[in-house]
Symmetry: C2
Subunit: 120 residues, 2 copies
DNA sequence: TCAACCAGTTTACTTTTAGTAACCACATAT
DNA sequence: ATATGTGGTTACTAAAAGTAAACTGGTTGA
């Protein structure tokens, strides 16, 4: 009988969804890459230049090293972040935002502004 | 000796963080309200007008009623969404985006575009 | 030599989230 | 009477996410 947002009702009155929002919908997909705890903050901290691992971990006061490493690996895999071995013996590593990572910054900035302007 | 992003090194070479990004930083706070699984999608589905509970649950193909209710309650509490009892006996309920909820749409749109333009 | 740094890894948990499947009470249509 | 609809709730399980703290194996500086 009627339709509303992809839901159709047939002649017998049974309801069917024509375009259910299955998992790989763009908003959920985006949230998976940027939404994990600390991911946004990590990217944000890298926006002004490469940062060394322990410095990053310290900045993210609340996060354990394990979390920071884990998130960094995920973000490396997603291509948001690049790991660079700066020196071998004294081991020194920096993490740097990639060009692709930078494309997410405007979005994070909007989120940041949104949280700041509305008291959340 | 040097400082970098709020990390200072004292005369003895010990490192200290001056402004660690503790949990309630704007990006993390924003992610807490908008980042849960399905929350973004729910808000997005409500953008064109009120939607009834079961319709919404159907649209979110992968989500169980329990999840949808849970997320809706959280979003009600956050003031993003309003529950409206349309009719009592036949019980009918709609969920509607609030003015505050609408302020998050531009952000979701950017996330959506970002996910769509970069193959994620 | 000792303490502190580097960049992690590992362990041993606890907490949170996600999810299934069945069930409720009531209403409407066949 | 039976199936289907409404808007949920309950009970339970599985998986993910997160924690603190110890530990590696090296380096550096006092």
């Amino acid at each position: 009988m009627g339709t509303s947002l992809g839901i159709t009702t047939d002649e017998q009155g049974r309801k069917h969804v024509s375009e259910p929002c299955l998992e790989p919908c763009p908003i959920e997909r985006g949230m998976r890459v940027l939404g994990g705890k600390w991911k946004g903050s990590i990217l944000w901290h890298l926006k002004d230049g490469p940062v060394r691992f322990n410095d990053l971990a310290r900045q993210l006061g609340g996060a354990s090293k394990k979390m920071v490493v884990q998130r960094l690996r995920e973000m490396e895999d997603a291509g948001l972040v690049k790991r660079e071995m700066v020196s071998d013996r004294p081991v020194a590593v920096t993490y740097e935002i990639t060009e692709f990572g930078k494309t997410a910054l405007s979005f994070l900035e909007e989120l940041k502004n949104w949280s700041e302007t509305h008291q959340i």
